[in-house]
Amino acid sequence: MAKKLDIPNAEDEALVRAAQKGAMPPYEELVHRHRDKIYARAFSMLRNEDEALDLSQEAWVKGWQRLKQFKHNASFTTWMTRICINLCLDFLRKRKRKQTDSLDQMEEETGGVERRMPVEEFNPTENVEREELRSQIDEGLAKLSYEHRTVLILHEFERLEYKEIAKAMHCSIGTVMSRLFYARRKLATLLISLKKERQE
C-alpha cells in the first residue's frame, strides 16, 4: 500500500514527484517554500515590485505546466529559477524593443565608457557592515542597465558560465565578456561614490 505523503515535512523531491503525477497540494507546498526566492530573482532583474510579482506567479504557472519535463538533474529551485529568468528576459526584451536607447546605453553596449573609468585603488567595501554593503550593492545594481545587471546576476548569483549566459541572452560570448566587465567596473565606481556620500 502506498504511503501517504506528509506534505509539510516532505523533501522537495518527494513533493515534485507527487506533483508530477498531477497532485496539486504538494505543488502548493513547493510554491509556499520557494516563492520568496523566485520573487527575489524576478525583482532583482526587473526592479519593479508589481512586475516581479506578476512574473513570479507566471513562473509558477509555467512550472506546473512543464513539471513533467523536469528530470531531477538539478534542484527544483534551480529549475524554477531558470523558468523565472527566461520569463524576465523575454519581458525585458519586449520592453526594450519599445524603448529608444539613450546615448549612454548605446555607449555601454559598445563598451566605450569603461575605458575612461580609472581603476579604483580605494576599497569601497572596507569597514562597511554586511547589511549596509548589501544595500549599497542593491542600489548599485538598480543603476545598471538591464543587460549589465542581468549578466552580473546570472554570473555572480546563478553561477552561470559565459556560454550559458550568452545562450540565455541571445548574444555572443564576447558581448557577455564586455557587458560583465562594464557592469563590474561601473559597480565598483558606484560603490565608491556611495561610500563617499555616506561618509560626508
Binding site: A52, L53, A188
Partner: protein, 188 residues
Amino acid sequence: MKQEDKLKIQAWMDGELAPKEAAQIATLIEQNPEALALSEELRVVENALHLGEKPAILDDSRDFYWSQVERQIDAEEPLAEPYAVPTIASGTLLRWLVPVGSLGAIVVLMVNFDAMNPNPSISAPGITMETPPAAPSGLTEPAGVLEEAGTEPDGMGVINFQGSQGSRHLTDPEDPNTLPESIENPDR
C-alpha cells in the same frame, strides 16, 4: 593595456581561460601594475557580490499568493482540450463547408421554385413575368426591336421577385413572408 587584455584578466579571474592562456595572464598580472590594480578592483567587486543579494520578501499571504497562481493554472488548463477541434474545423472543414453549403442552398431553392411554379407562364404569388420595358432613350434597343425578334417563347422573360423590392429580402431567414409557399404550406 589593451581592452582585449583587460577582458582576459576578467576571464582569468572567472576561470574561463584555457590553461596556457591563464598562465600568460597570470604572468601579466605579476609584471604589470595596471593589470594588477585592475584585477584587485574586480576582486573587490566579486567579493562584495558574494555576500549575497538583499533579500526580497513578498508581502502577500501564502493563501492569497497561491490562490492567484491556482486561478491562472485553472484558467489555462481547459484550453488544452479544444485545440484539436478548431484545427480541423477551421482548417479543412470550414473551408469547404461554406461554398458547399451555399451551393446546396441554391439547389434547394431552385428545386423548390420548380415545384412551386411548374408552369412558368402562370405567375406565382409575389412573382410576375416582366417583359422588357421600352428604353426611354437610345441607350438600349427599343422594346419594339425585341418584340420583333420574337425568339423567346411565350411566358419567358426576366423574372422579377416582387418580394425583393423595397425593404423585404427573400433570403432573410427571420422573415417568414419571404419563404416560398411550398415551404410555408407543405400540404399544397
